[in-house]
Symmetry: C2
Subunit: 314 residues, 2 copies
């Protein structure tokens, strides 16, 4: 009954709903809850065990020693943590929010008694809601699991085991390194796509009539729901600022070079090399030994060098 | 023999080679030439009539009243125009270079006696050489045909007829409006992709391991051959500078807003609207009446409002 494999998911949107399905498929006792009656009704209709309130779901998590997963947007995290403090104050807790420092800070402030290890599955954001979810959403995806010094290795293993069970691979990372990385490869691309789409459209109907592959690709994510993108980018403000500054500096250098000598070779060649880094990236796949006395440091180093965990020794 | 439908293509790379094939498929007398012996040999092996030298190809064009197509990169245009002046000084001339003002300027300077109407088929740049070409390359593509006041309407019709015969649709545009538009939707996307790829790769292996759809799409064109991209972008220097300045201004505004209030809503919403302009773009398809006393002005206005020509009345 309390084998520690039970999972309680708070929030049943695309990510939470997909995780509930994937955890059930893994043979676990799972239940969830959501403020959306549409999503709750759909999930119940699909045969899942959905609690009527967050308090009810959390009380059961405390009784049955479930791993609690926060799958709500960043602005809703504080409110849920206040309920956690009241109904499951010592629970094992993880989350799936796309930035990690603000969530970790909120947990220390609002629910300091929980055993928290943050997570971030790198799965799509273009659709939302229970109906868009699938047990297969995480197949092959990178699932970041926070690996800062001092974290509870038992909970780390529980979170990583759940991620692996969904078909994801685990990328361990310090939360500040995670936030800096996603600012560059997830949040900045949204800002750049928005700027490019705006500048292109300012060219009027002739420009739109001539737009081909490079503009189509470069602006694709500007088609995502704006509220989701705004929330995601604003939530990672500090790290995103650094990435935007880097982009501004490089774009300004391109501008200066084009204006003075007319040359763009340095900009274009650096970009080509950057793209090659992506195409050439080879991830080392390892079995993580959590009995190692220096396990967390080794996990962080693995993530920092682009590697990932595909199995665990506990 | 001299029905005016003959086509002489100078340069047999991706675009020139594809045009030679498409014109031949249209039942025209066609020949070409190239400085690349590899491309020349391949084209001959494929059954095409390939002259040994530019001079020979142009002499024949003068004799047989062919439409001459410059299909060489911008830096090679001046050299070919000097041969045109000598061997086909009064020929009908068009080109397929991706910027129009520098070519028009070179024509006035080096071969002022030709009847020139510039063109630009919006077809791929990622591959190059005769072997990469195909008679189908232009199917459904936009083929810009310069429509500035004073151009020779007969040659305009010849160029547009050739473009339509390849399966393209014709977008008429003043050359400065063309250059401004492609700076925004073709050249700026390459600069932005290069900057994004560089900033992302600077995040190291962890960033590359986490890079998903938004970064993949936003940097795709940074994988193009750098020399082609550099030549294309540098050739449109003045218009690209204006587009880069617009992008710098908007990215700077996003930076300022993120730093001061933490808000990105204006940036992201404007980008979403810009992307919608692309997705919602509906091109009016018209039959152009070249007997109209104000034909060129009407053609420019058609292009400016996003329309295109699918048939001609001469």
């Amino acid at each position: 009954m309390t084998d520690g494999r039970a999972v309680c998911v708070i929030g049943l949107g695309l990510i939470g709903g997909s995780l509930l399905r994937a955890a059930a498929r893994d043979g676990r006792v799972v239940w969830g809850t959501t403020e959306s009656t549409v999503d709750a009704d759909s999930a119940r209709k699909d045969g899942y065990d959905i609690a009527s309130t967050v308090d009810e779901a959390l009380s059961r998590a405390a009784t049955e020693d479930a791993l609690v997963v926060l799958a709500v947007p960043l602005p809703a995290v504080d409110g849920v943590l206040r309920r956690v403090r009241r109904f499951a104050p010592g629970c094992r807790l993880t989350d799936v929010v796309s930035v990690k420092a603000p969530v970790a800070e909120a947990v220390s402030r609002l629910a300091p008694g929980v055993r928290y290890v943050g997570g971030h599955p790198m799965a799509g954001t273009a659709k939302s809601g229970w109906a868009a979810g699938s047990a297969d959403l995480f197949g092959g995806a990178a699932w970041v699991v926070a690996a800062d010094e001092g974290l509870d290795l038992e909970v780390w293993a529980d979170v990583a085991t759940l991620a692996l069970a969904t078909g994801a691979v685990v990328v361990p990372a310090a939360i500040d390194e995670h936030d800096a990385a996603v600012a560059r490869i997830s949040h900045l691309p949204h800002v750049m796509a928005a700027v490019l789409a705006t500048v292109g459209a300012a060219g009027g109907p002739l420009a739109m009539a001539l737009a081909a592959g490079s503009f189509q690709d470069g602006t694709r994510v500007a088609g995502s729901p704006p509220e989701l993108v705004i929330g995601m980018c604003e939530g990672n403000r500090a790290a995103l600022l650094a990435a935007v500054d880097d982009a501004l500096g490089r774009l300004g250098a391109a501008r200066g070079s084009l204006a003075s000598t007319g040359g763009l070779a340095a900009t274009i060649r650096a970009g080509h090399q950057g793209r090659n880094s992506l195409d050439d990236h080879q991830a080392a796949e390892v079995t993580a030994d959590l009995t190692d006395h220096d396990a967390l440091a080794k996990l962080r180093e693995l993530g920092r060098t682009g590697g990932r965990v595909v199995a665990l020794i506990r």
